[in-house]
């Protein structure tokens, strides 16, 4: 074999690629290699899927065959569907219970475990523990806890003289019943975020306020809460997104009943998509839910940004 064959010049294009620069810096292609294992599945199973979902929302499609373009028909149908306002209202009501309640409980937990005392570490673990349990398990356990006649919750309320509450069998109570399970499940995660925020607050600020004669409540009101605003914003944003997408707890605990009083938007989308195989309409409803989440989240973030404590 000749020397010339052994030492073939590198292809020009490859050499250019190797020496390519961006804003004066040489591009390190190995970085892209490292993100590829994440990016490819993300592209395939998220970005393309989302794009396809958006396309399907303008079509009529029942899994078999090609989608048929129907323009805005699915969105018009949603506006005329009497069930749509019902499930949106249910979801918003559920959010109005869960978001403030979880925020308050999580903040209380965080303030409690942020103190220096012998049981703080144990308390953190205990408060966080429900969050590591699968939501399916949470749902099944709470169905038992909230049973009208045999549930522990009603039994304890009975000791206080409160009559049995039909937590999961009465339309007026069912969202509160499901919310109890959700708050118990979710408060631990939000507590961790608050705890991180609390530990970022300089100790000197509290001490200075106390030296100036501020009570513990005043320190909380004027020092802690304003400085917790970023954590608060994050917690509320995550909770809003979570509650608007609520599915598993409801599916397991009530399947949307009784009398559709706990049917959330996602439960309805699931029924339309996977029971009736009306994927075009289900995709349109999903797109509407996405818009709702976006609007609510943006409004919430703006409100928190301008809010003065």
């Amino acid at each position: 074999m000749s020397e010339a064959t052994l030492q073939r010049p590198r292809p020009v294009a490859l050499a250019r690629l190797r020496h390519a620069t961006w804003q004066g810096e040489r591009i390190d292609w190995s970085a892209y290699l490292f993100i590829l294992p994440f990016f490819l599945p993300f592209l395939l199973f998220t970005l393309i899927a989302v794009g396809f979902g958006a396309y399907v929302s303008f079509t009529e499609w029942g899994v078999i065959g090609d989608p048929t373009w129907t323009g805005l028909d699915n969105f018009r149908r949603a506006l005329a569907d009497p069930f749509v306002p019902k499930v949106w209202a249910n979801t918003l009501k559920y959010g109005l219970i869960v978001v403030p309640a979880t925020t308050i409980v999580a903040l209380a937990f965080a303030l409690f475990v942020n103190q220096r005392w012998w049981g703080a570490t144990l308390a953190r673990t205990v408060f966080y523990a429900p969050n590591v349990v699968a939501v399916t398990v949470i749902g099944l356990v709470w169905v038992w806890l909230l049973d009208t006649r045999f549930g522990l919750v009603n039994q304890y309320l009975g000791y206080l003289g409160i009559p049995n509450v039909p937590w999961l069998t009465n339309p007026a109570w069912v969202l509160f019943g499901i919310a109890l399970a959700s708050i118990w499940w979710d408060a631990g995660f939000s507590m961790v975020i608050f705890l991180a925020g609390l530990q970022d607050i300089p100790k000197e600020l509290r001490e200075a306020a106390q030296v100036d004669g501020a009570s513990r409540f005043q320190v909380l009101r004027h020092i802690v809460l304003p400085l917790l605003r970023p954590a608060m914003s994050l917690v509320i944003t995550l909770l809003i997104i979570g509650t608007l997408r609520v599915f598993s707890q409801i599916y397991i605990m009530t399947n949307g009943g009784p009398a559709n009083a706990s049917a959330s938007v996602i439960i309805y989308i699931y029924r339309i998509g996977f029971r009736d195989f009306d994927l075009g309409y289900a995709a349109a409803l999903s797109l509407m839910l996405f818009a709702t989440i976006l609007i609510v989240t943006v409004v919430e973030m703006r409100l928190l940004r301008v809010q003065r404590w």
Binding site: S30, G62, D147, T169, P171, G257, A261, F274, R275
Partner: protein, 444 residues
């Protein structure tokens, strides 16, 4: 000498390793991969089932028996259990991908939409070629497996017929001094028995004389049965008119509501009906034969009797389970699958005595040991003998699920649940049903 492992070297090594792996496996690099052991020439039939309770265990025995009988004949069934709430989605998706199972479990009257999509196959010719004796089947079962709007072709081989009848807790009956050998025959007698077996604590019903749930399947199907008995029809025989005799539908809804509020023999507080009856929270329970084996295994002291005549007749809910074949790219698979279905049908004695509903083959019903095998006859009798009154089946149109009365979250339940919660007037709900059903029938 220790050499520094740079990022470039590490990448080169990883690349070289991966390349040699690929080459080794493809045999290009002079290293041929070790040949796999030769596959035996076994034709594998893929079967999907959504049976998961005690009936699922019996069905597994049926499949095992087939495989054992065909161990030397080059054909085996591979059964995969798919949860029933995912079954439709998965069959349609797999069919769209050309990977549908060969056959699966179906329910008569619910497949018009799939027929329209060419997912399920007409079976008349295939079963004729497989020499399945269709003359041995009960005529009603075969007719229910046909679709009038699709050439009246047979799209399912029925395996067992089910009806809803009433289970009675014998301990509760004895406690109330009732004679189980003379069960209630009319609506008035049913209410009387329910009243006598109901236990209340103040205003609260702690044991339902007639077990219901506050929403979902139980009130929906009870309403559907009573409404039919009173003369209501979801669709006319020619499938052109919907909600015939709506006044009867309204009267039936009132009858169900009265169980909760007027007679107070049922409570809305029950969520899990099967568990509630099994744990003594109800004295009488309208249900299907699929619950029998489980309650027998649990040692529950109970019996069954036929659904009483609340209205003009004693009709009850009818459900026909069977096997359906799905379209394949490789049509040569059909013959073996049809043969397998023939074998399972011919050998469905176990299935129809221990597994689930009544036999649909005359040759099985005529067997001397049909009544003495499997679940005790005094429990099964109502479900077998009551088949003559089981006429409230599915409406075989594309939107059949909208007409289903045995549903916890379908259209009927969605519409009627607010009625049971006193949140929607009865006439408004029946009107909503009528409007949707008319639209569904118009679609065909």
């Amino acid at each position: 000498m220790a050499s520094k492992v740079t990022r470039r070297n590490a990448l080169k090594l990883a690349g070289a390793g991966a390349a040699s792996g690929i080459l080794a496996n493809s045999g290009i690099n002079g290293v041929t991969a070790k040949p796999l052991p030769a596959r035996q020439d076994v034709h594998e039939i893929v079967h999907w089932s959504w049976l998961t309770a005690s009936d699922g265990e019996v069905w597994q025995q049926m499949i095992d028996a087939f495989n054992e009988a065909h161990a030397d004949q080059g054909v085996q069934i591979r059964m995969e259990v798919v949860p029933d709430d995912q079954y439709g989605t998965k069959v349609l998706s797999s069919a769209a991908a050309g990977q549908a199972p060969d056959f699966g479990w179906g329910t008569a009257g619910l497949r018009a939409d799939w027929i329209d999509k060419d997912v399920v196959l007409p079976l008349d010719e295939l079963m004729s070629a497989a020499e399945l004796d269709l003359a041995d089947f009960m005529e009603h079962a075969l007719q229910s497996s046909r679709y009038p709007t699709y050439g009246d072709m047979l799209y399912m081989i029925p395996m067992d017929a089910m009806s809803l009848q009433v289970l009675l807790n014998l301990d509760h009956a004895a406690e109330a001094g009732l004679d189980p050998s003379s069960p209630p025959q009319t609506g008035a007698e049913l209410l009387d028995w329910a009243e006598q077996m109901t236990v209340r604590d103040g205003d609260t019903v702690t044991r339902s004389g007639f077990l219901m749930t506050g929403a979902g399947v139980q009130p929906s199907v009870t309403w559907g049965i009573v409404a039919h008995q009173m003369g209501f029809r979801r669709a006319g025989d020619d499938l052109t008119e919907a909600a015939l005799n709506p006044e009867a539908g309204q009267a039936a809804a009132q009858w169900v509501l009265d169980l909760f509020d007027e007679h107070r023999v049922a409570t809305r507080d029950v969520t899990d009906r099967y568990q509630a009856f099994g744990t003594g929270q109800g004295a009488m329970f309208l249900t299907g034969p699929w619950t029998l084996a489980g309650y027998v295994a649990d040692g529950l002291n109970f019996t069954s009797f036929k659904m009483p005549q609340v209205g003009e007749d004693a009709s009850t809910y009818f459900e026909l389970g069977g096997l359906e074949m799905y379209a394949q790219e490789d049509e040569s698979r059909y013959e073996m699958t049809a043969q397998a279905i023939k074998w399972l049908s011919d050998n469905s004695f176990l299935w129809t005595t221990e597994g689930r509903g009544a036999a649909v083959r005359q040759s099985i019903l005529d067997r001397d040991d049909y009544q003495t095998s499997g679940v005790p006859w005094d429990l099964r009798a109502a479900f077998v003998e009551g088949m003559s009154e089981a006429v409230i089946g599915e409406v075989p149109v594309k939107a059949a699920p909208d007409f289903t009365i045995y549903t916890g979250s379908g259209f009927v339940a969605q519409t009627m649940d607010p009625v049971w919660a006193n949140e929607r007037p009865i006439d408004e709900a029946v009107q909503m049903l009528a409007e949707q059903w008319e639209a569904d029938l118009a679609e065909g």
